[in-house]
């Protein structure tokens, strides 16, 4: 069973510290939700773990199955089993989804080994059927001119094909209507299982009605300030983030 351990992580962007000592362990089969107000460092956390070059990890550790990933390039981290579902996936004009996914899978093979084309398409179509995605989708350029919902479905399809150990889902629900949200949530729920750990980053409780988390963490000012089970999400929904802020202020005083 896989495990992602984040230990006392500090992340800066251009010398400004955004994540200020965050620790969290995600085991295979678990779904963790991180909630928090805007600008609290949720997206920074996920991009830093995925290896975005603009984010500097100033101290702390991230271990995947006991091995540090911080010295690895973004592509090596992905091949090791980290998957970042983007809040705003890039549009890649001229590169079809089929060719893109093929390149991503090819990258996971040893040098000189060629991907088996018919096996690849068989698997791709099976995943698409499972996620109820039209096959015509694969000949479209990656995210190029896609609606918000299409972009998120494209992310879920990639996740299904790449079968990561840990998925970091950054505001997967942003910009989605209820129907699109349900489709995306169904996709994640289909993939849930002992082989996959999930970190759901979300601003709203809404997503957690569809993907029910095992743990809920509240992030504020670069740290996890409160953890609990799914009921914490409902409490937050009812009381708002100010409740947390007040609690923190009281604790300090």
């Amino acid at each position: 069973m896989s495990q992602l351990e984040i230990k006392n992580l500090h992340v800066s962007i251009a010398d400004k510290e955004i994540v200020k000592g965050l620790s969290l362990t995600i085991k295979g089969g678990e779904v963790h939700a991180i909630m928090g107000p805007n600008g609290t460092g949720k997206s920074t956390l996920s991009k830093a773990i995925a290896g975005h070059p603009d984010y500097t990890i100033t101290s702390g550790e991230v271990l995947l199955d006991g091995v540090s990933i911080l010295e690895k390039e973004a592509d090596e981290r992905a091949r090791a089993g980290i998957f970042l579902a983007f809040q705003y996936p890039s549009e890649i004009p001229g590169v079809s989804i089929a060719n893109f996914l093929r390149a991503a899978l090819q990258a996971r093979l040893a040098d000189g080994e060629e991907i088996d084309a018919s096996g690849y398409y068989k698997r791709l179509y099976a995943k698409m059927d499972l996620l109820k995605i039209d096959r015509k989708f694969t000949s479209r350029a990656v995210n190029d001119g896609f609606s918000g919902g299409e972009k998120k479905r494209c992310e879920i399809l990639q996740m299904a094909m790449l079968e990561p150990k840990v998925a970091l889902m950054d505001e997967t629900d942003s910009g989605l209507d209820i129907d699109a949200l349900r489709i995306v949530a169904d996709g994640v729920n289909t993939m849930r299982g002992p082989g996959l750990g999930v970190l759901l980053i979300t601003h709203y409780q809404r997503l957690l009605d569809y993907i029910v988390p095992d743990y809920v963490h509240v992030m504020y000012d670069g740290r996890i300030v409160k953890s609990g089970d799914k009921t914490l999400a409902h409490e937050l929904e009812a009381k708002g983030y100010d409740w947390i802020k007040k609690e923190l202020a009281t604790a300090k005083a």
Binding site: A50, G51, H52, P53, E73, A74, D75, A78, R79, F83, L84, F86, P89, S90, E91, I92, P93, G94, V95, N99, F100, A103, A104, A107, R108, A141, Q158, L162
Partner: protein, 450 residues
């Protein structure tokens, strides 16, 4: 005319005065070349070759001050150190096996090496795919009318004259009126030998309402040969004809290459040409489109992968001579290493060419900080009711796109390759034949794999 100018050349070609201007292509070499040609060739052709040689000798090499050679590394243009092609020197590479062809002509060092003939059905319908030497005898009038019929306008007059003077053999393709050739016709030209000079030529005459696709590959035996190529082609699309031309230049990375293409488009005819530039250390490519009658349309496309210290110098001219004509140029360059590209394009709209639609676009993808892309787009419009746009852009790989691909496990180099293909796709998508599209994609990919 040839007789008169010959006298001039006699004096000009004396070794002492002319040596720097002719390099390896001196009068002895020219005499040897003429002597090697079959005696069956018509006298007018030999006279034209002599006149061309005189012109070659008399014309100066490009100078730094020539506007038509602006940004070119003219100090690296040399005519020295090359040898005239000998028959089938070395191993002729295996022709690429990609898409099914209607017929194939394979030239090695300027001479026909092998061929796959047309089907009996197409031959019976009058389609001709043969050598220029053959056509000069059997289809003399057609060849005489169209072979190198357009005077060079883009700066390479000296090299075009050299081409005509030393042209041994080439392809002649004629599609008769109303005939459609479904599969592409292949013309492969190989340069073999360390210092070989080649002068490939392809002449295509598409009669009224005919349809055909020509795929031409230029290739060297190895990647290290310091070869020389001065090639040309003539495409003639008669009324209502649809012609697609694909040229893929993949000479040795140490070769010096000049190519001059002329396209004549008649009433309601359309020509789509795509030139893919991969090889040579320095390659100059000139492309002229003449829109001669209403309804004529020329689509001019090019893709270049410039790497290490390669230089690709592309000069284009779209001349609208009649009303209601259209031309659309899209040249895309991907630059790596310390490579350099030059694009200089001019749209000319004659005074009576009203309702002209003319577009010209040069896009450069900079994959390296050391690479250099130069663009000189231009317009010369005499008519007042036209729609013309031109523009040039240079951009880098978007780091967010690159990160997105890396976040899926694709290493940086492979990500950049994928993004380059994405950049090229807009051009490849213009091809209506999916198989051709895929074959070209694979051919371009081989350059990334090197």
């Amino acid at each position: 005319m040839p007789a008169a100018s010959r006298t001039t050349a006699m004096s000009a070609s004396t070794p002492t005065t002319a040596a720097p201007l002719v390099g390896s292509f001196n009068s002895d070499a020219f005499a040897a070349h003429l002597a090697s040609l079959p005696p069956s060739l018509p006298a007018w052709w030999i006279a034209r070759k002599r006149a061309a040689y005189e012109k070659f000798v008399a014309l100066p090499l490009p100078a730094r001050t020539d506007e038509s050679w602006r940004f070119s590394s003219i100090s690296k243009l040399t005519l020295d150190g090359f040898t005239l092609p000998t028959a089938a020197a070395g191993q002729v590479p295996q022709a690429p096996i990609d898409i099914k062809k209607a017929a194939i002509l394979v030239f090695a060092n300027g001479r026909l090496f092998s061929h796959e003939p047309l089907s009996a059905e197409l031959a019976e319908r009058g389609v001709i795919v043969t050598t220029l030497q053959n056509a000069l005898v059997k289809h003399e009038a057609l060849v005489r009318e169209h072979l190198l019929a357009q005077p060079p306008k883009l700066g390479s007059a000296k090299f075009t004259a050299l081409h005509e003077a030393f042209l041994i053999d080439g392809a002649f393709i004629h599609i008769p009126r109303g005939v459609t050739v479904e599969q592409p016709i292949g013309v492969y030209s190989y340069a073999l030998g360390a210092t070989t000079a080649v002068f490939p030529h392809t002449l295509v005459v598409a009669a009224e309402n005919s349809r055909a696709t020509i795929v031409e590959y230029f290739d060297s035996g190895h990647d290290t040969e310091a070869q020389f190529a001065a090639g040309a082609n003539d495409l003639y699309a008669s009324h209502g004809a649809h012609l697609t031309y694909i040229g893929k230049q993949d000479w040795s990375h140490r070769a010096l290459s000049f190519q001059s293409n002329s396209t004549v488009v008649r009433r309601d005819a359309r020509v789509q040409s795509l030139n893919v530039h991969l090889g040579a250390r320095q390659a100059r490519h000139e492309s002229l489109s003449l829109l001669q009658a209403p309804g004529a349309f020329s689509e001019m496309l090019a893709l270049t992968v410039a790497e290490s210290d390669q230089e690709f110098d592309q000069r284009t001219l779209q001349i609208h001579q009649a009303p209601n004509t259209k031309s659309d140029l899209l040249y895309k360059n991907a630059l790596r290493g310390t490579a350099k590209t030059i694009f200089s394009g001019l749209i000319v709209v004659d005074s009576d060419a009203q309702k002209t639609d003319a577009y010209q676009s040069n896009r450069n993808l900079m994959l390296s900080d050391e690479a250099e892309a130069n663009s000189l787009p231009g317009l010369e419009i005499q008519a007042n009711d036209v729609r013309c746009t031109h523009g040039a852009t240079s951009s880098r790989i978007d780091p967010e796109q690159e990160f997105y691909l890396q976040a899926r496990g694709i290493a940086k180099a492979a990500a950049d390759e994928l993004l380059t293909f994405g950049f090229f796709e807009e051009v490849l998508n213009r091809l209506s034949d999916d198989n051709l599209h895929e074959a070209l994609r694979v051919l371009i990919q081989t350059k990334f794999k090197k």
